[in-house]
Symmetry: C2
Subunit: 334 residues, 2 copies
Amino acid sequence: MPELRKDPVLGRWIIISKERGSRPVDFVVEEYATKGGFCPLCPGNENTTPPEVLVYGREPSSLSNTPGWNLRVVPNKYPALVIEGDVDKEGVGIFDRMNGIGAHEVLVESPVHDETFIDLPPERMVQVFWAFRDRILDLGRDPRFKYVMVFKNSGRAAGASLEHSHSQLIALPILPRMIVSELEGSLSYYKYKERCIYCDVIRQELKEDIRVVCQNDDFVTLMPFAPRSPFEMWILPKKHSSSYITLPDSSFHSLTEIFSESMRRLNACIPNVPYNFVLHGAPLRSEALDYFHWHFEIRPKLSTIAGFEWGSGFYINSMPPEDAAQYLKDAIPA
Amino acid sequence: MPELRKDPVLGRWIIISKERGSRPVDFVVEEYATKGGFCPLCPGNENTTPPEVLVYGREPSSLSNTPGWNLRVVPNKYPALVIEGDVDKEGVGIFDRMNGIGAHEVLVESPVHDETFIDLPPERMVQVFWAFRDRILDLGRDPRFKYVMVFKNSGRAAGASLEHSHSQLIALPILPRMIVSELEGSLSYYKYKERCIYCDVIRQELKEDIRVVCQNDDFVTLMPFAPRSPFEMWILPKKHSSSYITLPDSSFHSLTEIFSESMRRLNACIPNVPYNFVLHGAPLRSEALDYFHWHFEIRPKLSTIAGFEWGSGFYINSMPPEDAAQYLKDAIPA
């Protein structure tokens, strides 16, 4: 069983999960299923993954876990956390641990092996965003889970171990440190100003218009003032909302539109860019929060986190976001 | 001039430094001077780096910035922060910035291009540890600087842009986030227990003896209970001390001995392991702190920081530190 452990000084939790190999030799070579090799996410290989928990676009005549689908969500075969068991917390001398309870799912975004997320036509990309919502809603019913982290690794440099386009989600029994920090930081601002800091950022960015990449009626894509990585982008709803799952049905196409345009501009600028994105929203079962604002964060993986960043928590970025935003505005989305 | 910028939600500072290229194309290919190519750190090429600020083992007949040295410290030719100027802090609407004032130095650990840090014989490795101390002492006289972060990137995967063995240091006008967190976390424990948490960790680890890699009279190398990376190691002085620069002269050989043994065990286990290490000590000009304990953190670079880690601050580690410690104890140091 995987295990959650807490650093006694920093209060930072980590996951110890031996599923992916735990001998020194396992760290030397990484596997990566490229076109031509065996791919567990391709149609016809459904029996090599755990059974699907969600499927869209399944042909009426087809059976579960067989070909004939547009998008498929399955439990990760090598999960970082496992779904069965209780969250037992215990002390080990001065240390703290708990069972590695959670859910780890893979969202297969396309039946076509080499169709990337950026390639998806709007009517299929929107299904990815629907699936995020549906899985968060479903997992949120389990009282053991406090948060569902939705994320995507695209490209080997960004940590993808499979080439076939997919995103992932991990349901966690504790709030992740980064979300706690965002909640605390935005609450602290709210207490002082009685305004949402993200709303204030959006207002200032739209007015200054030097870090805005693109916008539509509902959303804006901007480069943060203090980005950790070159070409880092955030996509935020213009209207205040703390939780992704409350996004009205009518806004999903608008989200797809801006996400697609942002990624196509990035890809036009840096072809085949490896990247990650994550969804940050309020904790599961939270009431609407006046001080927090859900958003996507997109990190093109263009730099290495080396000793300085790792040891200081301080990032060095060689690309001012104002320049990056201009490059993306000038790019012609493919 | 580089710039420091603060994330308004998280309070996290980043450095914007355009020195290393700032067009999209610059992110596609990375340079890496391998054996056979031109190396600015090799003897004979001293004129391609800024003039040396510290040198050890210079032959009496040789001139500064010419061959004939064992170890050489020079300002980084492409510094993340610059030494000239004032730390002007200013607001930009709701954002905060300051000038990128600091020092960024390169410590060339050997005149021999392909002699690695791990290869260094004790009487030369000790010079590296002396140099860390001497540079921290010197830079600590500049009242603009609050902290000197000493770090090493070894191997391209760990962020090294030059093959020739070197470490680096960056003097910063603000305390890095990670140090602030360690100081706050250990102070909070001290207020409750009136003991140093690191001393308590060392006591428990030596007693349990399941995460200890090696030890001598003065130091212990252990795997932390909640490591972010496989085979992460910490080297701590057994006797409480908050600041590296107060390490007595007599202990430098002992530090060299344990550092060398730890790294040789690691390298025997995972040949040519890419790694980072960082030195964490008290802030510059700090009085002796009862609650904080200086240490080195060593991170073998064996995993990728992907979307989940980046977006959550939560690390997944597939190697339990107890197993890793056993592998290293069983290894025969090369």
